[in-house]
Amino acid sequence: MTIVRHDLRQGRTAFALWTAAIAFLLAICLLMFPQMKGQMEAVSKVFSLMGSFTAAFGMDRLNIGTLIGFYAVECGNVLGLGGAFFASLTGVSALAKEERDHTAELLLTHPLSRARIVSEKLAAVLIQVTAMDVIILGAALVSVKLIGETIPWKEMLLIHTANYLLQVELSCVCFGISAFLHRGGAGLGIGLAAAMYFLNLIANIADRTGTFKALKYITPFAYCEGADIVADGKLDPTLLIPGALLAAVSVAAAYWRYTTKDIR
């Protein structure tokens, strides 16, 4: 567990900043809800007239005048995007940063198998993602209590679980990519997360037009769609399974590549 502890220590500043930023934005969103609640009916009507844009954000199926509707759309975007960026950045730098910072030579000349290094670094990534999600969920629940609303436990836990799985998937995919890189891949990680987010917007619009519907099976944001989660009261396994497979293949690729690659 030495590398896990070391990586957690190395990543603590980024972890604290991202977690604080996302928790703060979620709390601010929720604290604004009581003031906006009265105006939401009019806002909902405006949104309902925005055609594909409304569908892209799932607002055609949710009433953002309710706490869970508001949470799924507004807070869901903050949680989804913020969490995805953090997970991607953490995953994509996990292995590559050692070569980028020229510390790989020091680390890999200790008597450790490369597979153990991969395992411990992956564990460090997943611990950070998990810890961030627990803290953010706590902040969200406290915020709901602070505004005097009843906590919609089931829906909130489902939304957070979906976002946690999204972060695990993206961090695993980026971790796999990291094993192939010799330099930091921050741009790649952020780009991948952003691309997946926009693919989901396109897939939501495609739901109406019937084209590009398969995109839903590619982007993990599809199973985080608040409107579907609230409406169905569950996560969609047909969207989760491809994501789980992709994550597993990425991790396997990381082991294969890192245990055979030349270290620069």
Binding site: L106, T109, H110, L112
Partner: protein
């Protein structure tokens, strides 16, 4: 059993040559110099031994263990000092040393403390704030603190001031006296000459000479210093010619009778013909176009 043994060790980076067909043996307890200029393949050879890169062909063994298949067992017995030292940002030297010891599952605190004291290294400072020499000292302690059986040192003295260099070599000699094998890669010939019992010279990725320091000096080349004037144009095998107002100094690897004839025909007040220094040996090998001594 040798500390290091390679046979036909070859590494290509795509189509670019790293090292080619290196056959080398370093005995246990030896203080071995590995000499070559930048780009000759020294670091590639070392990185292959350490399992950082995989050989394209051939094989390497350390204490009879295959460097690729038995990498972890090999690294347990090796201390490595890289040519360029980089540490994780924000870490104090003592934390880096502790991390390195933890990764080896050893308590190296006492030895690390002694090494820091002898090298005048403040372990409480952040590695980012250290000079090049300071970081090098930290890397030296990292490499030595677990008391390895084999020390692989890649350009170890760059950045160290002369006093610390002296202390560093004193440390190495102590380790050598206690039975450790020292593999010193360097392009600073004087430090190899002063410290090593055996050496190999690498050129363009291939070992072109290997043996004891005395054997290497037996190149047939001689350092010739002449007080006076002599005509050298007719002689072949003259290199590194330096002319002063008082005379000439050159490395000669041609026919000795021709040299003596040329000297006899010149205005020579004094002449010294001596065994070449390692620098001359190096020039001798590197002066050969075909790469063979």
């Amino acid at each position: 059993m040798d500390a290091i043994r390679t046979s036909g060790l070859t590494k290509y980076y795509g189509r670019t040559r790293g090292v080619e067909h290196i056959d080398l043996a370093v005995g246990q307890g030896d203080f071995f110099g590995f000499i070559g200029p930048n780009g000759a393949g020294k670091s590639t050879f070392i990185r292959t031994l350490l399992g950082l890169i995989r050989p394209s062909s051939g094989q390497g063994e350390i204490f009879g263990l295959d460097v690729t298949k038995d990498r972890e067992k090999v690294l347990k017995r090796v201390g490595y000092l890289p040519s360029e030292t980089a540490f994780w940002p924000g870490m104090r030297v003592k934390d880096i040393l502790k991390l390195s010891a933890d990764l080896r599952r050893k308590d190296c605190g006492a030895v690390a403390g002694q090494l820091c004291e002898r090298l005048r290294l403040d372990a409480g400072r952040k590695a980012d704030e250290l000079s090049l020499g300071g970081r090098k000292k930290a890397a030296i302690v990292c490499a030595l603190q677990h008391e390895p059986d084999l020390l692989i040192l890649d350009e170890p003295t760059s950045g160290l001031d002369p006093l610390i260099q002296r202390e560093f070599f004193a440390l190495l000699r102590e380790r050598s006296d206690r039975g450790a094998t020292i593999f010193l890669s360097s392009h600073i010939l004087s430090e190899v000459q002063q410290n090593c019992a055996h050496a190999a010279i690498i050129r363009d990725g291939s070992v072109i000479a290997s043996g004891s320091m005395q054997d290497l000096a037996r190149t047939g080349a001689r350092r010739v210093s002449v007080l006076g004037r002599v005509e050298l144009d007719a002689l072949s095998g003259v290199r590194d010619l330096q002319t002063t107002s008082a005379g000439l100094d050159f490395l000669y690897s041609g026919d000795m009778r021709e040299l003596l004839t040329a000297l006899a025909g010149g205005d020579v007040r004094d002449v010294t013909i001596s065994e070449p220094a390692l620098e001359d040996v190096f020039l001798h090998y590197y002066g050969k176009g075909d790469g063979k001594p």
